[in-house]
């Protein structure tokens, strides 16, 4: 890599490239570049119940919030998709080994976005191995195409493990420990791993947070060089994850049955094509498409939108109710506008998003990830995002002027159940 063809490898780029490459060397390189002061987790002698929530997805209380009360998603992410390839069902020995491998991570790192947050989830294909069905209290369906204009690959691994931390080497280290490639992790011995139990189906990496997308817009295809604002947490240039536009953790949690305190998880991969977005669409048009025409007309969004506070202001401006009207009368509908049409009886969105951008494969993209009480909650939300009801009333097309559909392609979809912590290691459908 010569100096003239790439910008200097600043720290952010280095970390994220290391995460995207993975492996022991990348982990070591990362470790030597980052601050070594990472808070350790629970010693084997300490009471786990006192330190760890029963909900694997209880991340909000253990993450930072910004000045407006918005939870800040951890900056670095790895998703590992695994298969259990052995014939028959997992044995109790394997179950114990898997649980112990997870405890290594909890021993090594504090349960927090500065330490390590992670979830272990199981797909419908995993539960198919068993004779019994999942209880009615769990709505876990197989993934499918969710729009007439997409044709994604349907992921069918058995297990999805999502690792997240503000410290890149924590995420990389956790991965290497799980795979059995290192002996110690932040001082904790790695004496249990998935090495003899699971095989890797796929590996996905990414980042979210101010500065990170801008650090990668020269090398990633699909986004023009230097186009992304330094303050932008995501490639498309706007803040996401406003408090009021996220379902509260309580609302996405399964309430009854053996998987109470669990949740369902949807993981998809979107490819982003942002040359038009940055080189052709002027900013007012981008604001209208990302949020709502009203946001453009009233100039509500400054820069990446941190000024909006703890809400994207779409509901407050009555955008959702005007979706069809805006399609017909203004010829344009916004992404957030369409989503704001999906609310529960208390006015909350149905899904809690923990998605992040990626440069996997050398192309700008988004690993979309959300947790919700039922997979149906996700599908209803995605249907609103499709805006197929407003396309064809006139003006707004299938993708043309229809939120951000013009700029994304859905490549993969998968659905999973995140059990409560007590059932996270090879659960049966009726634990």
């Amino acid at each position: 890599m010569d100096e003239t063809s790439h910008p200097p490898l600043n720290r952010r780029r280095f970390m994220e490239i290391a995460v995207s490459i993975g492996g022991v060397s990348a982990f070591s390189a990362c470790l030597s570049r980052e601050e070594s002061d990472t808070p350790t987790g629970i010693k084997p002698s300490e009471s786990r119940d006192a330190h760890l929530p029963n909900r694997q997805h209880a991340w909000n209380d253990f993450s930072e919030t910004d000045g407006h009360g918005n939870v800040i998603n951890a900056r670095h992410h790895v998703i590992l998709l695994f298969n259990y390839d052995s014939k028959g069902l997992p044995t109790s020995t394997e179950q114990e080994e898997l649980e112990s491998a997870f405890r290594v991570l909890e021993h090594a790192f504090e349960w927090s976005s500065d330490g390590l947050l992670f979830t272990v989830a199981y797909s419908p294909y995993y539960f198919d191995k068993y004779d019994a069905d999942l209880p009615d209290s769990v709505d876990l369906t197989k993934p499918k195409s969710l729009a007439p204009f997409e044709d994604p690959e349907l992921d069918d691994p058995d297990i999805a493990i999502h690792l997240a931390s503000n410290t890149a080497s924590n995420v990389l280290g956790a991965e290497e420990a799980l795979l059995g490639n290192i002996d110690t992790l932040n001082g904790a011995p790695v004496d249990h791993t998935t090495e003899d139990i699971l095989t890797v189906y796929d590996r996905r990496t990414g980042f979210v947070g101010a500065g990170l997308p801008a650090a990668h817009d020269t090398e990633a295809n699909g986004v023009p060089d230097n186009a992304v604002d330094e303050d932008a947490p995501l490639f498309m240039g706007f803040k996401s994850g406003f408090e009021k536009n996220q379902a509260p953790e309580d609302k996405v949690t399964i309430e009854t049955g053996p998987f109470a305190d669990g949740t369902t998880q949807h993981i998809s991969k979107l490819r982003q094509n942002l040359h038009q977005w940055y080189e052709q669409d002027p900013r007012p048009r981008r604001v209208a498409l990302m949020f709502c025409p009203a946001h453009r007309d009233e100039e509500l969004v400054e820069g990446v939108g941190n000024n909006l506070g703890n809400t994207d202001m779409v509901e407050e401006k009555g955008c959702a109710e005007r979706t069809e009207q805006d399609a017909s009368e203004r010829g344009i509908v916004g992404h957030s506008q369409k989503l704001a049409r999906v609310r529960d009886e208390d006015g909350n969105p149905l899904i809690l998003r923990r998605d992040f951008d990626t440069i996997d494969g050398g192309h700008a993209g988004l690993h979309f990830l959300s947790v919700q009480q039922t997979i149906d909650d996700f599908e209803v939300t995605r249907e609103a995002m499709n805006g197929t009801d407003v396309a064809g009333t006139g003006a707004v097309g299938t993708r043309n002027n229809n939120g951000i559909l013009q700029y994304i392609e859905t490549l993969k979809r998968g659905n999973y159940l995140i059990p409560p912590r007590e059932h996270r290691s090879f659960p049966s459908p009726r634990p």
Binding site: P148, Q276, P282, R285, R330, G331, G394, T398, R399
Partner: protein, 376 residues
């Protein structure tokens, strides 16, 4: 400007015909190359060839708006056609073009950007009926030796020469051979009447793209003496492939109610005894078919509503497509509307990207009165 041997071309002439002194090129192969071989954009390949300088001249749009003769006409290079489900998909390229995107009432100018290499275009028609369909979207995914090079959802566009098509300027690092997967989205407009299967689904086809700097330099383009005058370059001859003209007024089913030009748009309205689709209906069906003057192209992606004394509500017309009627905006008339004056409001002008000559037309509309007959 020299005399040209024109291939068979189609004109729709109105009283202010713009036939004089113009030409419509098609394939660049038959024409002598005009300007543009020097003054490259600074993009030189190893053989010392440069991309042609395709900087558009100063725009001479008429201040009063309307459809006008653009500054230049262009050729293009065909890249073949393939079936995709019930559709035929064709692909071609030209040198990069500037154009205007529509964001509701406003036009957003898209300039030529550094690195723009080709204007890739694609047209899609129903293979059974040979009609260009107002599809909602199309994506081009470009590969070379299995590696993803570039992917974009192409803009739906309208140009005097090409009619309705999908296109965009692509930045290709080098000339050569590529595979382009064209994915066609289902139609957003409501299909009405008999249609082959597959129009409601996504369809795709792979076509080969091959271009060299010589190709780009050889593509014909020529300035027009009468640019800025009211008029339009006639539709480009597409050989056996269909062009975008709307069905002839005389061929439309039902009874004509009106055919009036309001500003720069010809509004043809028809009345059918009932909805021509499979829906059970007793009420007459109103067809509104707005067309460009001169070339008679259907204007897609408009937001049109209607009011009539018969009911209090504002009625939405539904963008639809029927094999005999073609693209139109349809409305089942409420009981008791016959004999009334129905008022059409175009709330949103056609949300299709505009090539030169169409960017100051089809933007704003006054309300249009339609006198409905007493009986059918």
């Amino acid at each position: 400007m020299h005399e040209q041997q024109f291939p068979r071309r189609k004109f729709i002439l109105t009283s202010t015909a713009a036939a004089t002194g113009l030409l419509a090129g098609c394939l660049g192969d038959d024409e002598e190359p005009e300007n543009g071989e020097e003054n490259g954009n600074g993009n030189e390949n190893g053989n010392g060839e440069s991309l042609p300088d395709v900087t558009p001249p100063e725009t001479q749009d008429p201040e009063e708006g309307g459809v006008y003769m653009p500054a230049m006409v262009h050729g293009m290079k065909m890249q073949g056609m393939e079936m995709a489900g019930p559709y035929m998909v064709s692909m071609s390229f030209a040198n990069p073009h500037d154009f205007w995107l529509m964001s509701g009432d406003t036009t957003d100018y898209v300039q030529l950007n550094e690195g723009d290499t080709i204007h890739l275009m694609s047209r899609v028609w129903n293979a059974e009926t040979d009609q260009i369909l107002p599809l909602g979207g199309m994506t081009a995914t470009i590969y070379q030796d299995g590696e993803l090079i570039e992917e974009r959802s192409m803009w739906p566009m309208l140009s005097q020469q090409m009619g309705f098509h999908f296109g965009d300027n692509f930045q290709m690092d080098s000339p050569g051979e590529y595979e382009v997967e064209i994915t066609v989205d289902p139609m957003g407009a409501t299909p009405v009447g008999d249609f082959s299967d597959g129009v409601g689904e996504q369809q795709s086809a792979t076509l080969d793209l091959e271009f060299t700097y010589s190709d780009l330099n050889e593509i014909m383009w020529q300035t027009l003496d009468n640019s800025g005058d009211p008029g339009a370059v006639p539709p480009m001859d597409m050989g056996h492939a269909p062009t975008s003209e709307a069905p002839g007024v005389d061929t439309l089913p039902g009874t004509q109610v009106s055919q009036e030009q309001y500003d720069d748009t010809v509004f043809v309205t028809q009345l059918l005894e009932q909805h021509p689709g499979t829906i059970d209906s007793d009420n007459p069906y109103l067809v509104v078919s707005p067309r460009t003057p001169y070339n008679d192209y259907a204007l897609p992606f408009m937001g049109i509503t209607a009011t009539t004394p018969a009911v209090d509500d504002t009625l939405s017309l539904s963008e639809s497509f029927h094999p005999a009627i073609g693209h139109h905006y349809g409305l089942e008339l409420p009981d008791g509307s016959l004999g009334d004056t129905l008022t059409l409001s175009v709330n949103t002008p056609p949300q299709v990207a505009r090539h030169r000559g169409y960017q100051v037309a089809f933007l704003e509309y006054e309300d249009i009165p339609i006198e409905l007959p007493e009986t059918l």
